[in-house]
């Protein structure tokens, strides 16, 4: 009984705030010159909508998208540029290899969560090969041995077991995501952190915190260095929608289960 009331009250609050929001909009627009309907409107087209993604928080997402643009311009990209200037390409590639190899832990745990036996073995093989012969991942002999990289994460695992993506979400720094993929990111980060704490590779140095902060920062720099995307560089006014569509579609496809695949 009380629970019902709570739900009712919160629903009422939601509707009220929605009504206030829409009312607020009407007031602000009427304050300026009155609008004239355009020559072409959506009503005249009897066609399916396309390239659309469920995005109820679009206003919020667009403001994070804008934040990322400014963060890129003033912080992230200048740091990445500095990094690219002071390190030779050879070193940059080794750094990328190192982090790629670390992320095999995430790939492996999620291949296991999806009960993909063969893929898990391949990923394990990659990790062992590259950690040893590849000197801690600096080089990638595994690919040359025919062990393909299978990128996995917990968002994909959730999708694999049938969880829908939920609303689209733009994350600060990370960019395009969804409610599902954001939870996935949290889980993967938790697992990585757990393993890291258990292994405590720098515990003997006395500077464990400084070193791990450095490792994490370099990882962020390496991540941005490898991503050629620049916010708003396309000049295309609907870039936000293109990014949203391609992100969503790629994730949907890559996390879905092959309906014909033999169970492993």
């Amino acid at each position: 009984m009380t629970r019902c009331n709570v739900i009712r009250i919160s629903l009422a609050t939601c509707f009220l705030s929605l009504a206030l929001l829409s009312g607020g909009c009407a007031i602000t627009t009427s304050a300026t010159l009155s609008e004239v309907p355009p020559m072409h409107t959506i009503e005249e087209f009897k066609d399916q909508r396309f390239a659309e993604v469920y995005d109820p928080w679009e206003g919020f997402n667009r403001s994070i998208y804008r934040f990322n643009y400014y963060f890129d311009s003033y912080v992230f990209l200048p740091v990445v540029q500095g990094y690219e200037e002071i390190t030779p390409v050879f070193v940059q590639d080794r750094v990328s290899g190192f982090y790629n190899n670390l992320s095999e832990i995430r790939n492996l745990s999620n291949s296991l969560f999806q009960l993909k036996g063969k893929e898990s073995l391949t990923t394990l093989g990659r990790f062992v090969t590259n950690s040893t012969i590849g000197i801690g991942g600096l080089f990638d002999p595994a690919t040359r041995f025919g062990l393909d990289r299978h990128v996995q994460d917990f968002g994909k695992t959730l999708g694999y077991w049938g969880a829908g993506s939920g609303p689209y979400l733009v994350l600060p720094l990370f960019g395009p995501s969804s409610v599902r993929d954001t939870s996935g990111l949290a889980v993967d980060t938790g697992i990585t952190y757990g393993i890291y704490t258990a292994a405590a590779p720098f515990s003997g140095t006395g500077h464990s915190f400084e070193i791990s902060t450095g490792v994490t920062s370099l990882e962020a720099v390496d991540m941005r260095h490898r991503q050629s995307f620049r916010y708003f560089e396309s000049g295309y006014p609907f870039e936000y929608y293109m990014v949203r569509f391609f992100y969503h579609q790629k994730r949907e496809l890559e996390s879905a289960r092959n309906p014909d695949a033999p169970s492993e």
Binding site: L33, F45, R66, T143, F238
Partner: protein, 429 residues
């Protein structure tokens, strides 16, 4: 990844070779016009290109008094790439194709090829790219060769102004592809009067002869989809399903080259569908131009007059509306009325005729510095237009047997010819 590219390359090379015999060693591998247009050139077939080049991005304040609405808050000026040599060298301007930015992948490949050959390079977005409409178009109404040429010329002067203190230049050159190719010829003609650059050589790559005819041919590709262009949303969703199913039932490890190549190899899309996809991509592109122009002029075409769009407002419905408009809608309802008002007595026929290389025919035939490079199966040219280019340019026309529209632009032979054209002495190459 390397193996994969190698594999793709090998597969491509093993494709039906029947038509190859007459091509005298031209090995661009994709025979179909539409397929080549979509797939372009595999990286392995581009030849050696530098991975790191000395380059910076220019943000040009071409029209200092220009006010920009909040929805375009990110537009700080015209974005151009500038690659430079440390010693005295020739400079080349590159003009991007319809809708493309100065950072699009094709123009970046061209920039690398010229940089490698010892040129300073400045890339310019197409006047039909929203960045250009917002920051560099005087009228804010793109699509007219005469006005766009004036705008381009002003942008080039502004770019040169910005860099001339930092580099030594021996001479100026100009090259453009697709719509940018056609514009290059007009810019060259304008330069004969203004003489800011005195271009030594000018190359058009896959240009359109008549803009109106070329667009008619592209729009025509949408007529073949079920329900016609008005049902492009249905078509889009159907093609997406096909694409998704192909992925789901195959054993792919991601959306990568391997997957894209298999779509081509297994002929997932029919010829009509492939053509429809090209036309749809063009419409989505055009939508950006229509929307940005309408916002900038406040013309009330797709956005309500007097509505001030904020940076975080949803503009998805404008995307859907704009992408459902054809070029003919834009031309008849927006473009022509604007020019009619400006030049009373102007007929549609006269306007269409002015948007063509034929309108500067005399200049082109008398200018040995201009050349053209295109393909037998470029679908934006009618057979008589291709013939016109061959007749007009004679030895200065290089016509490849295949490659569709721009598909082979990044192919090693094409890049070599492109650079070679500029490396030969002025006049006939």
């Amino acid at each position: 990844m390397k193996q994969l590219r190698l594999l793709i390359t090998i597969c491509l090379l093993l494709l039906p070779v029947s038509s190859f015999a007459e091509d005298k060693g031209y090995d661009y591998p994709i025979p179909g016009s539409y397929e080549a247009t979509i797939l372009g050139t595999p990286t392995a077939l581009m030849g050696e290109l530098p991975s790191e080049i000395r380059m910076k991005q220019l943000v040009l304040d071409v029209l200092p008094e220009r006010e920009k609405p909040p929805i375009f808050f990110y537009d700080q000026g015209l974005l151009c790439n500038f690659a430079y040599q440390k010693k005295k060298a020739p400079l080349i301007f590159l003009i991007a194709g319809a809708g493309s930015s100065g950072q699009s992948s094709k123009i970046v490949t061209m920039m690398k090829a010229f940089y490698k050959a010892g040129y300073h390079v400045i890339t310019l977005p197409s006047p039909s790219n929203a960045n250009f409409v917002i920051s560099a178009s005087q009228s804010r109404v793109p699509g007219d060769l005469t006005e766009d040429t004036e705008d381009l010329y002003r942008a080039m002067e502004s770019a040169w102004d910005k860099v001339k203190g930092d580099i030594e230049v021996s001479d100026f050159n100009l090259c453009g592809y697709s719509l940018g190719g056609t514009q290059a010829a007009f810019v060259a003609k304008l330069d004969e009067e203004r003489k800011s650059f005195n271009f030594r050589k000018v190359l058009m790559i896959n240009p359109s002869v008549s803009l109106y005819n070329s667009i008619t041919r592209i729009e025509g590709l949408l007529k073949n989809i079920p329900g016609g262009a008005k049902k492009e949303g249905v078509f889009f969703n159907k093609m997406l399903d096909k694409f998704a199913n192909h992925y789901r039932y195959g054993n792919f490890i991601g959306i990568n080259d391997d997957f894209i190549y298999s779509i081509y190899e297994e002929k997932l899309f029919s010829k009509e569908e492939t053509g429809g996809l090209i036309a749809l991509a063009y419409r989505i592109n055009l939508a950006g131009m229509i929307f940005s122009s309408d916002v900038m002029t406040g013309g009330g075409y797709v956005v309500p007059k007097n509505r001030v769009l904020k940076a975080t407002d949803s503009i998805f419905n404008y995307f859907l509306v704009s992408s459902h408009l054809s070029f003919f809608d834009y031309f008849n309802e927006y473009f022509y009325p604007y020019f009619q008002q400006k030049r009373p007595g102007l007929t549609k026929q006269a306007l269409i005729a002015s948007e063509s290389l034929k309108s500067i025919n005399d200049y082109l035939s008398a200018s040995p510095k201009i050349g053209v490079m295109t393909n037998e199966n470029d679908f934006i040219l009618a057979p008589d237009e291709l013939e016109y280019l061959k007749q007009l340019f004679g030895a200065r026309a290089k016509v490849y047997p295949r490659g569709g529209h721009l598909g082979n632009l990044e192919y090693k032979d094409n890049l070599a010819h492109m650079v070679g054209f500029f490396n030969t002495a002025g006049g006939t190459p």
